[in-house]
Amino acid sequence: MSMRINYLPAPTWNWLKMNFKEVDEWQGKKEDAKITLPEGVTLTTLEDAENSDKSFDFNEVGTGMGPEIGKIIDDSKVATQRFVCEENREIETPVFVDLNYDGEDENGNQNYVNSYEVLLKENSSATFVFCYSSKKKSIALNQVKFIVEKNAKLSLVQLHMLGDEFNMFSDVGVRIDENANVSQVNLFIGGEKIYNGFRADLAGKYSSIESDYGYIVKGEEELDINYVANHLGKKTNSDILVNGVLRDKGKKMFRGTIDLRRGGKEAVGAENEDVLMIDEGVRNQTVPLILCTEEDVSGTHGATIGKIDEDLMFYLQSRGLAKEYIYEMMAEARIKYVINKIENENLRNRCLSFLGYDKDVEVENEVEVIGSRGEN
């Protein structure tokens, strides 16, 4: 049986095969995540009875992958866990959800399904980090629905650092209320196939979201992303920058939608994508959508795809760097640019380490120790 995920809100020609992604259905069991819970955040597991009642708001939060993915959660009978961030509280320590899928289990290839809801109450601010890592061959789904209430601030980081036989489904939906803000950093590295869905409903006026996505797709990896920003309230703002590198035979699909709805006056939506394609055999698909039914808005999107700009190439070569080296350097620069958006230094180092870019850091520390004498 197959199902469809990552729907394009307004379909295009069928022959392009970009309107959605078709995947096989599957089921899994809940993975025990290692969770760091700072003060001010509670975590409960919702049983069915509670679900139908208190989840009411969350039921209306749509996610980027679309309704069909819910079937996996239902069929797997996985209970949703809910985080609640206290009202009026600035929670500095991030909530860390470490989903390392290499845990022990009876059979070799167990699949994993997790479902979370996160409620940031009025005036609260918190950081949520979801770290997906694995070394084995398996499939996992993690779905998270957020409600960010009035004046609240959410900082969301999703790090996909996966082994090359792993299939990952990460699906997020967020409702952003009046004057609330979300900033997110999404990193996609490794995995055999990564499917990512994200949908933001900018429901309240002045609500806003900034997103930075970075990826490296190499070997025969596949990355399929769906991003949807629905501007419902007045004076809302959305901005996404997607930066990535395609190498070897990597394939990537990015669907990015800005929907400027009637009534959402003075909304501003922006979408930018920068794809560096390095080797023959790579394939890039991009569909940047802007839908608009409101006059007093501004929507822009830009995409730059392909090899390194001629002028930039000349500039770098004129400093003595050879072509191949430049490609390596630019690929690294690109992903580092996104990693630098992660505020937490330990997380940044973890990413750099996974990529093998941490040699500089170590060397630096070593030399500092040896050479520190007086000022430095």
Binding site: D311, L316, Q317, R319, G320, L321, A322, Y325, Y337, G371
Partner: protein, 246 residues
């Protein structure tokens, strides 16, 4: 003749199928300071780009020799590694790489060996001081969000750190910018002191040249070098402009 560092013979350069430079002959000896002047549109910047091998410019005739080697067909990075440096009027922004790391990478390519971080940091620090640049610049992403003046400083900084045998400074835009002029002047002085390399300064205003010991002055009009002389030509141009060469 074999003593010359840069030898340009009968060079013709096209841009978009149109010939911009015709039969350029120019020779620079090690350590010399040459100035290339001319009215707007003469093709001055074209020469710098052509020497460095910018793909938008096609050499249709003639040759460029550096240090006794014919480098006309060489790739840009090889030319740089042989010791030519071209400063850019509009250096390009590269997010994700810091200015410091970039320079270190370029140096490692050139010398083909790893450079000790501590040594490098020391050298960077002193170069930044000479140019009166805030040491924080080393950590900022290359050219990203830099003002015009900061970009100029970053270009001169790279020149000082890479220590080329020949530095080509295209200052056609700097003319009236007091800060730019100051930065370039300090940079040139330091370069001459520390590196002793040759300089080819491309400009149409003479302010930058005031304190310089200039060996030769070339005037480029409509893509041709119409005259080559010594420093006295600068004053002449200051007073009379380029009228008599047109």
């Amino acid at each position: 003749m074999s003593a010359s560092l840069l030898e340009i013979k009968d060079l013709c350069v096209n841009v978009d199928e149109k010939e911009i430079l015709h039969d350029i002959n120019l020779s620079v000896n090690p350590g010399e300071v040459h100035v290339l002047m001319g009215p707007n549109g003469a093709g001055k910047s074209t020469l710098g780009f052509a020497i460095m091998g910018n793909p938008r410019y096609t050499i249709t005739n003639g040759s460029v020799c550096f240090d006794g080697e014919d480098i006309t067909e060489e790739s840009t990075d090889k030319k740089a590694n042989k010791g030519i440096y071209l400063s850019f009027q509009n250096p390009i922004e590269v997010p994700g790489i810091s200015l410091g790391n970039f320079i270190r990478n370029a140096l490692e390519r050139k010398t083909e060996k790893k450079i000790r971080l501590w040594d490098f940091k020391k050298k960077m620090k002193s170069a930044l001081e000479v140019l009166q640049m805030n040491p924080e610049y080393a950590d900022r992403d290359l050219n990203v969000g830099f003002s015009g003046g900061e970009k100029k400083k970053a270009e001169i900084l790279q020149m000082l750190m890479l220590k080329p045998k020949l530095a080509i400074l295209d200052e056609t835009d700097s003319g009236l910018d007091v800060d730019a002029v100051k930065t370039v002047s300090i940079g040139i002085e330091e370069y001459k002191k520390e590196v002793g390399g040759a300089l080819l300064i491309i400009t149409h205003s003479t302010r930058i040249l005031d304190a310089l010991d200039v060996d030769k002055v070339h005037v480029l009009v409509d893509g041709k070098i119409v005259t080559t002389s010594d420093k006295s030509l600068i004053e002449d141009i200051n007073e009379n402009g380029f009228e008599r060469f047109l």
